[in-house]
């Protein structure tokens, strides 16, 4: 359905004629992305992987380029995770905020730094990962990101280092003056035998139509351990496209939690490829769309080498007229013997209008594997609810107990302890119907924590 005021690809791209000088891409590189744009169109329903997610709502608006804005301590503090001592990097509308960040650049060994700066100081390092990656022009939005991203993170953990505390990347969007596009490009490299935990959170500061487009590339080298958490709490009119690509080398460990609590349309693509033997992957997701929000998680685990394991658990509670998509693809190549892959997607629909599209996609080209998948969708169990009520527990509290129990294992698996406590708190408040500013800071407009009916 083409909506009335929908803007065309040309109109959408026209704002980038005034490319900010500080875009990450070089001029020559832009020629390539321009060429790509001739072929790449907005994703639409004919595109298999966008069948259940329409971006029409996003295309109702003309966006401008993001502007850097000052931040105050109170605002930043209110979005830090309680009790989490972290290396912090703060961005707003695609721009780095040095005042509230603590960067590290230790003789080219440990680097936790905004990527624009890395480009300036170490162009070779930057180029190695920017132009030559497969993420660059995978689809319309990654191409857009490659062409016009303004900043992001470069994180490199040297061989053997166990980072003493997590890294927290905070991305604010603020469409105060205009409808704004913010684009981030992240490169994260965990050196051989190293260990690091990263939290990337997204919040809106004002309500307006904003688009946040993120592309993250992660390389987990031999025997390294990397835990990556995406925490999405942008406003009710905020669109987010988040593309993460992970390459795992021999015996490495990668785990993720994608926690989506708020946003208008959120699309997450998480792709993991085992390029060495014996890799372990755990992908977890929690999504709680409400009102007319739409959250879409696409995962893709590609077992290209033997003895790999992957384990995916995604759970959602869908309220009001909201909808969600989970598409989990697992590919096991012919050479990937002894692969163990499992995938679970469970959903609770709180209303008759709530929708979920859940689909596992297993492509297995070797015999010697153990793969399982399961998907369930249901309402709150009426019998269980009555049982709890019959013991004197009121309906709201009984529902809360059941829904909390439903999500418990995924929350329990969060590997950053303060984040686990925080998510637990936010979700229980959310399920209890308390408004909570720390979700998206706009209790008037973005009822991020509407009651469960």
């Amino acid at each position: 359905m083409a909506l009335r005021n929908q803007i065309s690809k040309e109109e959408f791209l026209s704002v980038f004629q005034t490319l900010p000088l500080n875009a990450l891409a070089e001029k020559e590189w832009k020629n390539k992305t321009d060429k790509n744009f001739e072929i790449l169109d907005f994703p639409n329903k004919k595109d298999e992987s966008w069948r259940h997610t329409s971006i029409n709502r996003l295309l109702q608006h003309r966006y401008g380029l993001g502007k850097s804005m000052p931040l105050d301590k109170k605002t930043v503090d209110s979005f830090t995770i309680p009790g989490m001592d972290a290396y912090r990097l703060v961005f707003i509308n695609g721009y780095f905020n040095a005042a509230f960040s603590n960067e590290i650049d230790n003789d080219n060994k440990l680097i936790i730094k905004n990527i624009a700066q890395v480009k300036k100081e170490k162009p070779d390092l930057f180029n190695q990962f920017y132009e030559n990656t497969s993420i660059a022009s995978e689809n319309f939005f990654t191409n857009l990101n490659t062409a016009y991203a303004t900043n992001g993170n470069y994180i490199s953990i040297p061989k053997g280092m166990v980072l003493d505390k997590p890294i927290h990347i905070i991305n604010f969007s603020d469409g105060q003056d205009s409808k704004t596009i913010s684009q981030y490009r992240n490169i994260i490299i965990a050196g051989e035998n190293s260990q690091v935990k990263i939290v990337n959170s997204f919040h809106s500061l004002t309500v307006n139509f904003t688009l946040t487009n993120v592309a993250t590339e992660i390389i987990v080298n031999e025997n390294a351990h990397l835990n990556f958490n995406i925490f999405q709490g942008e406003g009710d009119d905020a669109f987010q496209i988040n593309h993460t690509k992970v390459l795992q080398h021999r015996n490495s460990y990668f785990s993720s939690h994608t926690i989506t609590l708020c946003g208008a349309i959120v699309r997450n693509d998480l792709q993991v490829k085992h390029i060495g033997e014996g890799c372990e992957t755990k992908l977890n997701g929690l999504y709680l769309p409400s009102r007319e929000q739409h959250f879409d998680n696409h995962t893709y685990v590609h077992h290209a080498k033997p003895h790999g394991t992957s384990n995916q658990v995604y759970k959602g509670i869908i309220d009001n007229k909201a909808s969600a998509v989970f598409l989990g693809r697992v590919m096991v190549d012919r050479g990937a013997q002894k692969t163990q892959a499992s995938q679970t997607n469970r959903n609770v629909l709180l209303t008759p209008y709530a929708k979920i599209n859940s689909k596992p996609q297993l492509e297995i080209y070797t015999d010697d594997v153990a793969c399982s998948h399961g998907s369930t969708t249901g309402q709150i169990d009426k019998e269980a609810l009555f049982y709890l009520q019959s013991r004197g527990i009121d309906r709201r509290h009984a529902e809360l107990l059941l829904l909390t129990a439903f999500l418990a294992d995924v929350i329990e698996n969060i590997e950053v302890e303060p984040l686990k406590l925080f998510v637990n708190l936010l979700i229980s408040r959310r399920l209890q119907g308390e408004k909570d500013n720390s979700l998206c800071s706009m209790d008037e407009v973005c009822h991020g924590c509407d009651p469960v009916d």
Binding site: Y387, Q389, S390, R391, I393, A405
Partner: protein
Amino acid sequence: MSKTLLKIENLKASIEGKEILKGINLEIKEGEVHAIMGPNGSGKSTLASVLAGRELFEVTDGKIQFLGKELLGMPPEERSREGLFLAFQYPVEIPGVSIVNFMKAAVSQHREHKGLKPLTAGEFLKMMQEKKELVEMEAKLNNRAVNEGFSGGEKKKNEVFQMAMLEPKLSILDETDSGLDIDALRIVASGVNKLKNSENSFLVITHYQRLLDYIVPDVVHVLYNGKIVKTGGKELALELEEKGYDWIKKEND
């Protein structure tokens, strides 16, 4: 004369348009034990569910008074807080909700209703401990999810344990004896007897006389085809055990 606890008048209830209860009259006084027997499918559990407030069944006629209050229209949680308890014939499993958290929520809402102070964590755990000993329930069940993976016997013990925690005025035991071996039956029955006093009452639904050897009823009713067709003393239970239900059916069909 002792107070009337429960008074059911001409209660009719149906499910999916099918009438299951066809005019039940029943009065239970404080301190009394009533037994309800009757063939499968006669409506015993339906009566228990309607009393506990299950919405699945539609009440089409009649009145239920509990301690002078109208029970119909009261949500299940309020009935519980007012002192009504149903030990389910088939307790449901609730994955992810531990017995401790479940009982904590229940007890605190009961106490709030009565205007009592919340229990401290220590007081609450002590209470759990005492009540569990009453039904010889294993301590390790505390952190297990409610009824999940429990054996038949454990589920029934868990029902009586919850009853002990909530100290109801009227307890409806729906086949709490079914499927129990003799040792488990003795434990469950003695648990019930320890809770019994001159102020609380029991409505015991059973198919077997054996339970009634332990929990001796004052009155025995026969429910057949949605109606109480016979009421007598404890000897009626013996008669039913001996003769079965055919004579009842003959008299009433």
